[in-house]
Amino acid sequence: MSFYFAQFLTGLSSASSLFLVACGLSLIFGVTRVVNFAHGSFYMLGAYVAYSLVQVVPGSILGFWGSVLAAALIVALVGVLVEMLILKRIYNAPELYQLVATFGVVLLMQDAILLIFGGEDQFGPRAPGLDGVVRIFGEPIPEYDLLLIALGPIVLGVMWLLLNRTRWGILVRAATLDREMVAALGVNQSWLFTTVFFLGSFLAGLGGALQVPRVSINLLMDLSIIAEAFVVVVIGGMGSIPGAFIAALLIGELNAFGVLVLPQATIVLAFVVMAVVLVIRPYGLLGKAETLAHSAGQVELPIRPASTLAKSVAGLLLAGLVVMPFLAGEFAIVLATDVLIFALFAASLHFIMSNGGMVSFGHAAYFGLGAYGAAFVIKYAGGSMELALLAAPLMAAAGALVFGWFCVRLSGVYMAMLTLAAAQIVWSTAFQWQDLTGGDDGLLGIWPSEWAKSKTAYYYLALVLCGGGILAMRRMIFSPFGYTLRGGRDNPNRTESIGINLRHHQWAAFIVAGMFAGIAGGVYVFSKGSIFPDEAAIPRSVDALVMVLLGGVQTLSGPVVGAGVFRLLEDEISRLDYWRAILGAIIIAIVVIAPEGIAGFIKKIAIKAGFERNEEQSS
């Protein structure tokens, strides 16, 4: 009995830490509508700064707490800097752009922290004055944990007072409901947003700094906490601070007791809970239906069949791809195979995003499922490559069938978050189910059949499968199915009122996109000969988003162009030190400078030069 009580207290103390991070994230989302991936990086930065400060100041109580507060303040200032330099420029862009930009910040911060603090795991000292244990029912409970347990409700109380008893809080709550109206009443939103970022980042930094005496400080803290914090924020209801508190308790205890029952499935459990909560309450426990902050003026241009010019360019490109192996070396052929795979992967995401208006933050799930599906056929069924490449889309489509059923019930950011959760379930299963997937060691030795062994032969196989997949999806975009999806994207109510079951169409689109991502994953695994859980992780999902954005969301050729540029770019810079920072900077620059993407940019120039029809003049 006493053991369970101790476990309960452990759950409470981790809930407090989680709440600090989730509370800031929820506050920032509620007011600015930015899904801030960099929030986990602020947390990690807080831990590193506090660790470094504790090393230099004398180990007194004052020194320790002074360091913690100073670290939180430094992080708050970094958060303000990020907000003013980057996010301020893109508040009016779709949520996806902001998310991708904040992921750029994640990459930048990873390398900045590596550069400043070094890459080794660090273990901080215990908190002076709180380094002992208290015996409760005979079980030793760290004093520091008791402090954390008290801190959660205290922060909740302070936040409640700030939001309900100060003018600042009233303005923040009003801005959460209707930003435009707040501005029309004479409130400077820009200033309001900056203060919200200050407070949110402060809380993230504080959460990180308080971890110094508890856990090891390492460079993986950012993505592991952000995934959990997203779960908490979504379960609680995005923008609701009390909701975040309840959800943090739920997840904290779930982790504490889940580890006793199902030690292999701790990460999965949290995401399963989130999926269940969202199906029962689509806006989280205490959340409210999304107010459409961007309702004004985002009219998407109709998608038109390719012009003669575009067709000729595509024809030339295809001819170029066919003759390429005769002209280029083996290295270029391998790289081109990669580009083809990622072009299909990006195109499958683009298919649901631009056509269906469904943003997936977790498209890597289906890439990973396809790859593992193919690998299983080779490893466990003794099957051939041909059979494995058939299993890949089936496995991915099966995953999309299940996850899609949940996801199409939601819309907007909630849907995106659920797709992220789905991807985390796939990733953590791959990571934790060692017997089946080999866990972090992956599955090795998955090579193509004899006839496709040469790099050139495999390149042609990839060209047929990936090129065929892209053309098939293009065909669907111009079919009645595609029109229905775009109708649903532009106006779900009108689409349903003419007798279309939109949810079924969206579900079907989700499965189609998953299936093609699965083909990409299957082709990928044979080109590399191995598969690791990373292929289903958050960075892989973001890769797909970046490729789509890079090419241009509203341009059909976008994902192909985006995948090509992204892959070549990545290949160039991944040989450099601090390539993450460079990639992050490029991502941010693209979002801020050329939000229409490369293909969109080229199209704009083609219109200006008179090669393409100008939509504005033609209507």
């Binding site: 003018r167 009233i170 303005l171 709550r173 009003a174 409901l177 209707d178 435009e180 109206m181 707040v182 501005a183 029309a184 009443l185 004479g186 409130v187 400077n188 939103q189 820009s190 409210k288 003026g297 009219v299 504005e616 209507s619």
Partner: protein, 237 residues
């Protein structure tokens, strides 16, 4: 030539590709109550939004008290002394009546009576009874009063009222007209858009008719009455 408080000069506003306001020009003098009349879709709301810079004009200018406010940030327009009451009311539903008023609060401007919560509760007695209620718990008429009170908390010199009588019970509309006359007596300048000609006549000094995004009539109500063909052409349904 009388003094001018607000002047729109050849304003052209677009929503995406749709050209809404075509060279719209008119003036409002201090202390005046002007009614913008016109059918649905004539451009009345867009005119209001353009003055607030919630919709940015592609050409033309908006002058307020002699200063160009075109392209100013919306909150700066409000701070300059223009109060906006939108058509859809846009109460902060989760905030209490008192909190809604707090969001609107701005410093007192010289030369004008300062509005306090007490004054506003005198003007709108229903609000006083519901001070602690949340915005979404109120009826349409009460919400309309709250949104006007909220805007008055900013002590505006010019009040923009977009269709204040829309969707409100007739008895409340009468009450609203009385309230507007009281507000006018305090020296506020008002520009209101209306479809209800009867209501507009009670409160306004002058009528401007907008059709297809341009001003097609700008004169007194007496003048409008003596030209029934204008009313038939632009206002009748």
């Amino acid at each position: 030539m009388a003094e001018t408080m607000l002047e729109l000069d050849k304003v052209n506003t677009f929503y995406g590709k749709a050209h809404i306001l075509h060279d719209l020009s008119f003036k409002v003098a201090p202390g005046e109550v002007v009614a913008l009349l016109g059918r649905n879709g004539a451009g009345k709301t867009t005119t209001m939004r353009t003055i607030m810079q919630l919709a940015r004009p592609r050409a033309g200018s908006v002058q307020f008290e002699g200063a160009d406010i075109t392209r100013l940030a919306t909150h700066k327009v409000a701070q300059a002394g223009i109060g906006y009451v939108p058509e859809e009311r846009r109460i902060f539903g989760d905030l209490t009546v008192m909190e809604n008023l707090e969001v609107g609060r701005q410093p007192v401007r010289d030369g004008l009576p300062a509005w306090t919560v007490e004054h506003l509760f005198e003007l709108f007695p229903n609000l006083a009874e519901r001070a602690g209620n949340r915005g979404k718990q109120m009826s349409g008429g009460e919400q309309q009063m709250l949104t006007i009170a909220r805007t008055l908390m900013g002590n505006p010199k010019l009040l923009l009222l977009d269709e204040p009588s829309e969707g409100i019970a007739p008895v409340i509309v009468e009450q609203m007209a009385q309230t507007l006359l009281e507000i006018k007596a305090k020296g506020l300048t008002v520009l209101l858009s209306e479809q209800n000609l009867h209501f507009a006549r009670i409160v306004a000094d002058r009528a401007i008719i907008i059709e297809g995004g341009s001003a097609v009539f700008d004169s007194t109500f007496e003048d409008l009455e003596s030209h029934p063909e204008i009313r038939d052409q632009y206002l009748s349904v």
